[in-house]
Symmetry: C2
Subunit: 339 residues, 2 copies
Amino acid sequence: MKNKKTTIDDIAMLAGVSVRTISRVINNSPMVGEATRAKVLQIIKDLDYHPNAQARGLAARRSYLLGMIYDNPDALYINNVQRGVLSVCRELGYELVVHPCDMHSDSLTIEAVGFVNRSKLDGVIILPPVSENNDLAGVFEKAGVNYVRLASVALDKAENVVISNDRSAAASMADHLVGLGHRRIGYITGPLGMKSTQERLDGFRDALEKHGCKPDNEMIVTGEYTFNSGAECACELLKNPDPPTAIFASNDEMAVGTIKAARQLGLNVPGDLSVCGFDDSILASRSYPTLTTIRRPVKEMARLATAKLIASIDGREDDARAMNIVTPYLVPRESTAAK
Amino acid sequence: MKNKKTTIDDIAMLAGVSVRTISRVINNSPMVGEATRAKVLQIIKDLDYHPNAQARGLAARRSYLLGMIYDNPDALYINNVQRGVLSVCRELGYELVVHPCDMHSDSLTIEAVGFVNRSKLDGVIILPPVSENNDLAGVFEKAGVNYVRLASVALDKAENVVISNDRSAAASMADHLVGLGHRRIGYITGPLGMKSTQERLDGFRDALEKHGCKPDNEMIVTGEYTFNSGAECACELLKNPDPPTAIFASNDEMAVGTIKAARQLGLNVPGDLSVCGFDDSILASRSYPTLTTIRRPVKEMARLATAKLIASIDGREDDARAMNIVTPYLVPRESTAAK
DNA sequence: CTGAAAGCGCTAACAT
DNA sequence: ATGTTAGCGCTTTCAG
């Protein structure tokens, strides 16, 4: 790299004080005279000095590195989370190390703990669906690793989770459809093991029940959160003797698949069939017709999670324990219409 | 964290050898007896020992951290690159620190160098369009920072760039359209400053010329690589007294915008108008009709770039200097048809 | 409020 | 082929 990196000693030298003092100003310790601090700061600036993060970490047992663990094919979601996390990292002087993994691997937990130990991460943020793995959380807990999970239910202590209220969001979509006059509404779930699948379905069902139109079991089919599964499930719903007038696919990929299936069956959306999704991914605004969907404040969740994580790292328990729950909201577009 | 981290000394203790030897086996030095190595490895495994990356880095002036610098709104692209980079990182024991930035900021270079110095990164991968900034590259060069750029032209020494041959890809799309009988073809460019814009346009123009149908200037309009700009540019092309029978939008977002515009004008795609894009993003397979486009081997480029970067870091000059150029290829779908 | 000095865990000359 | 030991650059008791 550079010819000769300037070190804390150089600064101490020039400032005519001990390294201890320099260290104090670098770490914003209040126990430094104003004059001294100003002088040191100036010298640091003049020399464009950057403390060596490794040395700092080694001595202080802190790396100023956060990790992000996930196994999610949705690039848009990952990217959104990443940006939210980074915006807070930047403010607070942290860097982000990304770590996709295989959530079905036997060695997931070992691998994950290895990752944080190896890189000496100060904490990790875990994205769904990996975040639903309680073993992983347990291992982190036991190992004393700071972590925050992004989830759709309160599956951990307040300081370890940020929640998206998918249930009430799904309910609001049900309200929307009923409000448009739909009574027979098909629903395509996500994979059965996932919490978000259950939450969204429960929200949908409860809302319909409240409106007095409990859905038949045959109006609820199991998808995989994929485009193709959406198309297949939609066909299944639509070939029912008494087909639905609206289909709520529990994510956008499946909703777009549903639109495709409808088109192939000669149905007009939203004329013959209303379709809606969940996520407000890029597909929603680009599809034809554009998709009525639910927007999750993903970036905001990520910001909250990061702030919370850093609060834990800093030992600010109160901040860390603050309850963080965000509520997604409905974005009406062209794909839903009055019956 | 853990009660008592096991260190290299513990291992040395148990193995009955010196730390130097342990260090050697950790770093795969050949100068260790087979028996000794095996024994040490076993103990390391038994104790689940992970060398402290910070201490290692501090002593060896190496962090095993790579950076990725970008300013690109295309989440899919970023995500693809990221996965490619990570796949090589994983094989070679590196971690990835992500760093979005503002390419129009005055302090871009200062900020970027600060980033690598602060985190003591071993090297960085720069994505387009930031990769087209020669100042940045120059500063890295001068600071002795290892870097590799992803680009569409050879704008640096072989060891510092991996190239995607967008020009020939655009040409093959032109061939495709001409092959379908189209002669009057509209073209929507990207933002004028970008290399990829120029390369794709040149490839398109050269190919058409070769086929003896040089496009009118009015058949070439300037877009912004966005959905809306695509729709607007398409309208402009289509309201021409002698409208095109095909439109080549130089990325998928604009191509989808073009399809939307055509629909609004009552044109059938591909019946009345063939449309094609560039990128093979998720939109291409989800749009209606599905989009004929160009697939860039993005992940492969990222892998090459990472391998090259690590070769530089390791001082394996030959590997680092190997010429890396990938050629995107055409993916035919429903949106183009014979005239 | 400030200073001297002992590590943090590992690597790499220099020996053997 | 293996051991000894002096740092790498910073934080942090413990004194002053």
